[in-house]
């Protein structure tokens, strides 16, 4: 042992390795420049911006209604959550109260989106680390959720289902029934995934004790979502910001202990069960009622009225082309818990139909920034596990 250590030190030569931007394990166009001493990472410098589309600049030139489809393209894996985050933020800015039925439906689709996101995360993360079997099992269930989305609004990936003040359309009872049937079966599926990897020695060796970040460091670096909770910080925006019906259903904030890749995996597995339980409770409790808020200055009129009534047609036209003309002046920050962490919107409104400034606080951007902290001093193979464990999407990182 001593010998190999010495000989490796003699032979070791620092070398710079450019990883990405086209690399299957970086989950998008992320480029990392790694300074290596043998196989140990001395310095890691991430380069981002390859997917920069200027969403914040575009938003300043579009009205509030037109910005909504842009938010789909932030985190395209869980576009439903992004839409929700945006709508909740704009509603709080305008001071709109959303009907109860809408809150229930939003919570259901939000949690379905969380399950779909974590499924994709588990599939690709496990594949990166070498546990290949679980990949297709996860995609089977993800497909089921995407089909539910398709039945709901016609789109699978970029859904644009919520609207400011409500939803595009109501759900039908058969859809709710089928989702309920899915949630009855899903806990068994989670157990299947766990039997595949929980006792897999390769999986355990490649995740336990890797990429450790303490609770204090995780907060200091601004991590959020499962990446923060894996370090044992019980911070969940669903408990902090009031939106959806998270205060009316029973659920717990899942936390880890050691802050390593394995604990972040455990947190997400626990979140599967929590989300599943939230969906079930919502479907059991969901009340009847309208789905659009009673705020005609900000919300789109019902489609059947637009097609038959002149006044509503004009109203619809003005809202879509010019935006709400009576938006209050002010600035505020509203965050929601998307699957990847805290997605925040900071609006400066000057009273016109367009946001004066829209800042998107995306979890992936913060997580990529913290990547050097996680992987410096570790082996080059571990960087794959680390990138997977912080769950990034570059569309959201670069905006």
């Amino acid at each position: 042992m001593e010998d190999t250590k010495n000989s490796s030190r003699v032979a070791a030569k620092e070398m710079t390795l450019s990883m990405g931007p086209q690399h299957p394990a970086t989950h998008g166009v992320l480029r990392l420049v790694l300074d290596l001493d043998g196989e140990t990472i001395v310095k890691c410098t991430p380069y981002v911006g390859y997917l920069h589309r200027g969403v914040e600049k575009l938003a300043e030139h579009r009205n509030y209604m037109q910005v909504l489809p842009l938010t789909d393209r932030l985190d395209y894996i869980s576009s439903m959550s992004n839409n929700l985050g945006y709508c909740v933020a704009v509603e709080k800015l305008f001071g709109i109260e959303v009907p109860e039925r809408t809150e229930y439906i939003r919570t259901i689709v939000g949690e379905m989106s969380r399950i779909a996101n974590h499924l994709l995360w588990l599939a690709t993360h496990a594949l990166d680390v070498g546990a290949m079997t679980v990949f297709l099992y996860c995609f089977r269930e993800r497909e089921a959720i995407l089909v539910f989305f398709e039945r709901l609004c016609g789109a699978r990936l970029t859904v644009t289902y919520p609207r400011i003040g409500g939803l595009k359309n109501d759900v039908d009872p058969k859809w709710l029934e089928d989702v309920y049937a899915f949630t009855t079966e899903f806990p068994m599926r989670i157990e299947q995934y766990e039997t595949l990897i929980n006792k897999n020695r390769i999986w355990l060796q490649r995740t336990k004790g890797i990429g450790v970040i303490s609770a204090q460091d995780a907060i200091n670096w601004g991590l959020s979502g499962p990446a923060l909770r894996g370090s044992g910080v019980p911070y969940d925006v669903r408990k902090v910001t009031k939106y959806g019906v998270y205060d009316k259903v029973k659920w717990e904030v899942c936390t880890g202990k050691n802050g390593d890749v394995y604990d972040r995996y455990r947190v997400r597995m626990d979140e599967f069960r929590q989300s599943n339980s939230i969906i079930r409770q919502c479907i059991e409790q969901i009340p009847e009622g309208p789905i659009m808020a009673d705020a005609p200055k900000y919300t789109l009129p019902a489609k059947d009225k637009v097609l038959t009534d002149m006044e509503h047609l004009i109203h619809h036209f003005v809202l879509i082309t010019k935006g709400p003309q009576t938006a209050p002046e002010g600035e505020m920050y509203i965050a929601t818990e998307v699957p990847k962490g805290e997605l925040g919107f900071f609006f400066v409104s000057d009273g016109t139909g367009k946001p004066y400034r829209m800042r998107v606080r995306s979890p992936s951007f913060v997580h990529v920034a913290a990547l050097p902290k996680l992987c410096e001093g570790e082996l080059i193979a571990d960087i794959i596990a680390n990138i997977g464990s912080i769950d990034i999407v570059l569309g959201e990182c670069d905006r």
Binding site: V48, G49, H52, G54, E56, K57, L58, E60, H61, K92, L93, G95, Q216, D217, I219, N220, W221, G222, L223, V233, Y235, V240, G330, E331, M332, Y333, A335, E342, G344, F346, V348, R357, R359, R361, F365, V366, V368, A369, A370, K373, D398, R399
Partner: protein
């Protein structure tokens, strides 16, 4: 602690620095002069009753008509005490610079780089202030209000300088 209580604490210590306090839908914004921003942030971070340990977000805002053209908005949250305060540093147009808060919150690093990239605000003492989303040789600051959404046709970005050099010198890369 209520946000206004935090503001009162701040006032007893840094009264001359505070320019304005506004409130909108229960969120409190404190505008301060930029000169002692790192002292103020250090105080908000270290004080055991306030303990703003989580820098949620940091971003710039551009107001071309105001005396202080730029604002840097610090979105501070305390995970321990569960309270939030929005702090704004007022920055003049002729010398857009402010002290970096990276020594206090490591997570500020990329947010500050982005604000520099998008608004041209210089963060003094930042460990690695480079462009982050735009290419290194980009001209102008895209999120400034006087920067057009779409420029004239001939102003299209011509590509990385370093790549062009590479193309002209290395025949293997010389793709027509």
């Amino acid at each position: 602690m209520e946000p206004l209580e935090i503001v009162n604490r701040l006032k007893t210590k840094y009264l001359n620095e505070i320019a304005d306090v506004t409130e909108f839908r229960d969120q409190v914004f404190v505008s301060v002069n930029r000169d002692r921003i790192s002292d103020i942030c250090r105080f908000l971070h270290d004080d055991p009753d306030i303990y703003m340990d989580y820098l949620v977000d940091l971003c710039g805002v551009d107001y071309p008509d105001r005396q202080h053209r730029f604002e840097v908005v610090y979105n501070l949250y305390s995970v321990k005490h569960k309270h939030r305060l929005m702090l704004k540093a007022l920055i003049p147009a002729d010398n857009p610079s402010v002290d970096s808060v990276v020594p206090i919150w490591a997570g500020a690093n990329w947010h500050e780089r982005e604000a520099c990239d998008m608004y041209g605000i210089v963060f003094n003492g930042h460990p690695d202030l480079r462009r982050i989303l735009m290419p290194d040789d980009w001209e102008g600051y895209p999120l400034r209000k006087d920067y057009p959404l779409k420029g004239p046709a001939d102003s299209e970005y011509k590509g990385f300088e370093e790549l062009k050099d590479l193309h002209s010198h290395d025949s293997e890369w010389n793709i027509q």
